[in-house]
Amino acid sequence: MASKKTNENKVTPEDANSRRDFIKKSGLFTALALAPPSLVMASENKWDEKIAEYLETVPLSIEVNGAKHNLNIEPRTTLLDLLREQLQLTGTKKGCDHGQCGACTVHVDGIRILSCLSLASMQQNAKVVTIEGLSSGKKLHPMQEAFIKNDGFQCGYCTPGQIMSGIACIKEGHANSREEISEYMSGNICRCGAYHNIVDAIIEVKEGGKLI
């Protein structure tokens, strides 16, 4: 599985052992006597870990940027890792991976959340929107345009999270003053310190009154 690429999910020898234990415990080998030919073949070819891996996963139906996905994932996969490693949507950034920076902000069912602290297995049937889902064709979202126009970034690493948060900040009704915007954007840290221009961009979109 693609998630194996991340450090966190790397298969370590302990993991492999626990998979074998799992197979023993689950009595799968006894069950193989009655198993369909594909499973027997798997066993003969020493594919036990693959099967165990399959059994350790859970099915997930999720909609991301309008596209439906039916997947099998490990319960421990975070929504952030699912997006980046399995769906190749790398626009959503991993900053701290511990809820402290906001770089991983996405919208789930219209609400901004942190994808690094969200287990994908708990997002059954959720509708997720990431930075990749904002533009329509070549036309950028008003918030993306405002960030460019107002220099709302330097290195750009925090920007996808800032933009997702900025849109939500307006929709929630928390963009009525510079102070209020700063407070409600405080979950998005910018190491380059582009805060002033980020607030400018949000005010411009709010005052522009376009549908966002």
Partner: protein, 326 residues
């Protein structure tokens, strides 16, 4: 993070039953604290029982009390019109915690059970009695700027990090829980415990019990209450010290008062002596300062956190002044 099984509970009853069957299972609500701790291997359950499908999200305004479901989101409670009107203290405290993204995920029950932010608790290379009982306490004699000044023990000097809980302690809330043996109610002031020599236990809740709701009795504090949070930056940081102040005023006379502090103890810290002192007095700067002195009389610093003794006093007087002038 270790892999685990996850199941979705469909009723409070089945949630409790499936948890009690497993030695090492945990409920998961918003996940904002649990997932973080699991990533750091501070806790590593074999099974998670996802309780988000339970019908425990409602906020109900009943006669004499308001009942908030354990799964109500922190952001929904903070912005609820009636909560703002009747219990502005709770709304202010919630809005002062974490960030909007986290408040959108975090639940009332999960907030109550969030673990300490003591840096030794988080650092698995360091001793910590709360994380590994009997391993020692890194913070005593170590870096303890965030630590407690009330009710600490030789085993642990950590503080409870919640803002919401400080307001709920001040408002005399009551917690309802459901366990394998049925349901029971716990006064909020007794819910969190002092560390003693078992700091691994944060609360009196049995690990197999589910929090179902929190109720707040009706009060006359809506007009004059304030939550003051002092932190290292203006927003998105845990409290160094916080104060929940609620006054019931008749003209200048203090009919009734509630005071609680955050960032100073292993539990939300009610200032009962100061409350008693203030009751019946007239609002004045002097009286507020005297109450603050009284409240901080027993406070003890551990070195790096000695500043909390002065900061605490000033914060109490300031919170009372702001509450009285609303």
């Amino acid at each position: 993070m270790k892999n685990f099984q996850i199941i979705k509970a469909l009723s409070a009853n089945s949630a409790v039953t499936s948890l009690s069957k497993e030695a090492d299972a945990k409920f998961i609500a918003g996940g904002t604290n649990l997932v973080d701790l699991m990533k750091k291997n501070i806790t590593a359950p074999d099974k998670l029982v996802d309780i988000n499908g339970l019908d425990l999200k409602k906020i109900e305004f009943l006669k004499g009390k308001t009942v908030i479901g354990a799964l109500a989101k922190n952001s929904d409670v903070a912005s609820d019109k009636e909560i703002k009107e009747h219990f502005p203290l709770l709304s202010l405290a919630l809005a002062a915690g974490a960030s909007q993204q986290i408040r959108n995920m975090a639940t009332v029950g999960g907030n109550m059970l969030q673990r300490t932010r003591c840096s030794y608790f988080y650092n698995t290379d360091m001793p910590c009695n709360k994380r590994v009982p009997k391993s020692g306490c890194g913070a005593i004699g170590g870096s303890n700027r965030m630590s407690a000044v009330f009710g600490a023990s030789e085993s642990c000097i950590a503080v409870h990090p919640s803002d919401m809980c400080v307001a709920l302690a001040a408002l005399d809330a009551v917690v309802t829980v459901e366990g394998p043996k049925g349901s029971r109610k716990i006064d909020f002031k007794d819910f969190h415990r002092l560390p003693g020599n078992t700091p691994e236990k944060d609360t009196v809740l049995d690990p197999k019990e589910l929090i179902t709701s929190v109720e707040i009795p009706e009060n006359n504090f809506a007009k004059n209450s304030h939550y003051l949070k002092i932190r290292d930056r203006t927003s998105y940081a845990f409290a160094l010290v916080s104060v929940a102040a609620a006054l019931d005023l008749k003209g200048k006379k203090i009919n009734d008062v509630r005071l609680a502090m955050g960032g100073v103890a292993h539990k939300p810290w009610r200032l009962t002596e100061a409350e008693k002192f203030l009751k019946g007095k007239e609002v004045s700067e002097t009286v507020f300062k005297q109450a603050a002195d009284l409240a901080m009389k027993e406070a003890v610093g551990y070195g790096d956190n000695n500043f909390k003794l002065t900061l605490g006093k000033n914060a109490i007087a300031e919170a009372l002044t702001i509450a009285a002038s609303k």
